[in-house]
């Protein structure tokens, strides 16, 4: 599978995701933000970090960059797109994904392991997980509090466009286990066609048991499936 990682000057998870992709034999290319064309890709990744410093609203400037125009075109043609953390924020800023990521409910940066439940697995990104499997992922963000209007929220639920929800170790989804205040404990969402996934947790940080855990592996192997 051919993948491309978009690298902004302030991206800082680009290397981590490249390491994970290599581990699962993706043929990956790093694409610099000033580039104007994308190589042939089956999967485009917008990684975590601070794109252009994010002194404005997170992802706002990145959404207007040249390379993102290309990403938008490819995404609309059905190419798989994965936005992680800052990448998710950027995708919402482009409008590829609806809704916004507000500041965390405690108004602080949050860097910790959390549990998420794979609530919808019938898609390109999650098919190797078991339905309702509880996964341990790492989050590290200041603005991860997903918000959208009630019509869209209903649509997300009704059309199974939410792959991951924050939960506790046993899989209970409740406010106590909602780290950042996201509506309905949403940790990630799809677009209508389910070819674009935005998620706050970092699956690339969970591909090595020696370091942190391996619950992220199946996201990559799902894509290869």
């Amino acid at each position: 599978m051919n993948s491309s990682i978009i690298v902004f000057p302030g991206s800082n998870c680009d290397r981590d995701i490249a390491v994970a992709l290599k581990k699962f034999q993706f043929k990956n290319t790093m694409v610099w933000h000033k580039d104007v064309t994308l190589p042939k890709s089956d999967l485009i990744i917008v990684p975590g970090g601070f794109s252009y410093g994010d002194y404005l609203r997170s992802g706002a400037i990145a959404a207007k960059s040249n390379i993102l125009n290309e990403v938008i075109k490819k995404a609309n043609d059905g190419c798989l797109v994965l936005g992680i953390c800052n990448g998710f924020q950027i995708l919402t800023e482009t409008g590829l994904l609806k809704g916004v990521l507000l500041r965390n409910k405690n108004l602080k940066f949050l860097g910790k392991d959390v549990y998420v439940k794979a609530v919808n697995i019938n898609n390109k990104f999650c098919n190797k997980y078991k339905q309702d499997q509880v996964l341990r992922f790492n989050i590290a963000h200041n603005e991860g509090n997903y918000f959208t209007n009630s019509d869209h929220l209903k649509e997300l639920e009704d059309k199974n466009l939410i792959p991951f929800k924050y939960c506790d170790k046993k899989g209970n989804i409740n406010e106590e286990n909602n780290p950042n205040g996201s509506l309905n404990n949403i940790a990630g969402i799809f677009n209508d066609k389910k070819n674009i996934l935005g998620m706050m947790p970092h699956p690339e940080r969970m591909v090595d048991q020696t370091i942190s855990g391996d619950d992220g592996i199946n996201l990559f192997t799902s894509l290869l499936n």
């Binding site: 302030g10 940066f109 860097g111």
Partner: protein
Amino acid sequence: MKITNSIIEKHGLKADEYSKIKELIKKEPNLLELGIFSAMWNEHCSYKSSRIHLKSLPTKGKQVIQGPGENAGVIDIGDDDAIIFKIESHNHPSYIEPYQGAATGVGGILRDVFTMGARPIALLNSIHFGSPDHPKTKALLSGVVSGIGGYGNCIGIPTVAGETKFDSTYNENILVNAMAVGHANKNKIFYSKAKGLNKSVVYVGSKTGRDGIHGASMASAEFDENSEDKRPTVQVGDPFTEKLLMEACLELMKDKSIISIQDMGAAGLTSASVEMASKGELGIELYLDKVPCREVGMTPYEMMLSESQERMLIIIEDKKEKEAKKIFEKWDLDFAVIGKTTDTNNLTLKFENEIIGEIPIDALASKAPLYDRKWTRKKLPKKEINIKDLKKIKLEDALLKILSSPNQSNKSWITEQFDQMVMTDTAQRSGADAAIIRIHNKKKAIAVTVDSSANYCKAHPLTGGKQIVCESWRNLISLGAKPIAITNCLNFGNPENPKVMGEFAECLMGIKEACEFLDFPVVSGNVSFYNGTNKKNIDPTPVIGGVGLLQITENKINHLLKKEGNIIMQIGKTFGHLYQSIFFKEIYSITEGPPPEVNLSNEKNNGEVVLKLINNKLVASAHDVSSGGLIIACAEMCMTSGYGLKIEKPQKLSNLMEHCFGEDQGRYLLEIDPINIPNVLKILSANNIFNESIATVQKDYFEMSSEFKISINDLYKTNNKWYNNY
């Protein structure tokens, strides 16, 4: 402009120092020259009060590539891998402006590490605040923590370990020490020593603004009631630009175009250019019109003294400018040739084609003042308390009170504000005795820790100095790492006070003695004097940053209990020393008496044998016994793992409190599977190591028969409430 006494005083220079300046340059300095002297001769940059004492530290060793004197220390960890690290203080700016002060502290120490060619792989911090009841503490804590996180999280270097302490001694002078650790190829390390004549001096990074002017001089004086007015001397950080600068520098370093490189930290352009020229025994000429400035109309004085962040000075090989410029343009950074090296041995400053300042380099560097200040020895305090005379307290009550106290509480409120996982090589995050970072794409890993014990150092500086080195050594060993070297950040009060100077001198003697004995050399460091307000000095607070090596990352262990039925074996003897303990302080508010004795040969012997047991895979988990003593160490092993312990009641010591809370040194707790006990005992007795079995791992409860039985859940709750309620 005539230089008056008041101008001299405002520049932090003493009358005799001003006379010395005139003597050295054989003329009256102009304002620009005076400013430059003030920047170079202040305590922060010149180490004028500390140099004599620092010389005694052991700085060499088989694995030391570069000791103190460069931007950071460098050690060899085999296979061409080098680790570059240093700790530095940013106390004064953080007290005035906590977010920016702490953030730029992180930024500054990161530059010290990547200037030498290393990619930073870990950040650590040691932060000390005043009493939680002090009106400023809450805002300072919150600002400093978010500043540290704000910088490290954005640039994408994991903040993996640290310590946070509260004590009224820091009410009006907090401590913010930041440590950075980087990885480099040992054949590609960059130094600051200038070489060659007529080589271009290149300025890269952010533009120069008016922030941080006289920052280093500010950090070289005590605070008073007007400290708030010093806010403009605090620099403002931009981690995004630092990220660009780091990537651009590391990209340029792949090539052979850099002759020498130095970051513009304290005293900015002045210090960077003087240091490069001084080490290279050359002169340097700067064309200040060429300095990229943020605002129009900046004066040469402001350019030379600004401490704007995220800037570097590079001396570059002939004909390499064009390629280098391309790299910096790619990263949208300024790149300007602002000078050249000369054979005059002078710092020559030109502006609009005129020489506006000229000072011999040696007058600023090697001939800067050096003081052998008066100092007094501190006697070992007497033991004057009989524990039997103290009001009785139940063991359980004391335990719970200590676990819920600010200093012993779980620090996840702090560490969750840091990205600990970015770079995805963090194999042990904070909350353990040390953190572990795997070397990218390799099997091996390093362990890192920061430690301090101000109350021990205050009670008896010589013992305290030894103790912190030992503590660092034990923390590394407890994770299965072989200790290699340390960096130190020496936070003290006013060196003109003989008592403070004595604390400094004796702490250093202690550090020296322990480092020598343990073969644990000092490779970098920083001195921060004048920590105090209105003549009230802080307690002596040297902070040690230790680095150790694990050959195989998978062999790491930590202090999480692993299996029901396993035995907890204590290495080292409990004598029950309660003076200077958390127990005395928290329960009885007793702060007098001597610190626990440090026996270096026991430390060495115990540590080496524990490491051997871990390497032989005989240990399931390990924990250093430190502040709070045996019982707190046991509780920590329970709370992090969810397992419980049944602790045996001691037979020997007459007093249960002494047994449980005594802070005797050189002790470890090891969790051993019963089938390994015979093997472990064989190794221990062959090495004459004192040991005793003290507890058994069980489910759910932390207990000692007839004393207490507490569920792990309750224990955890007790330990986790303070920060969330503060």
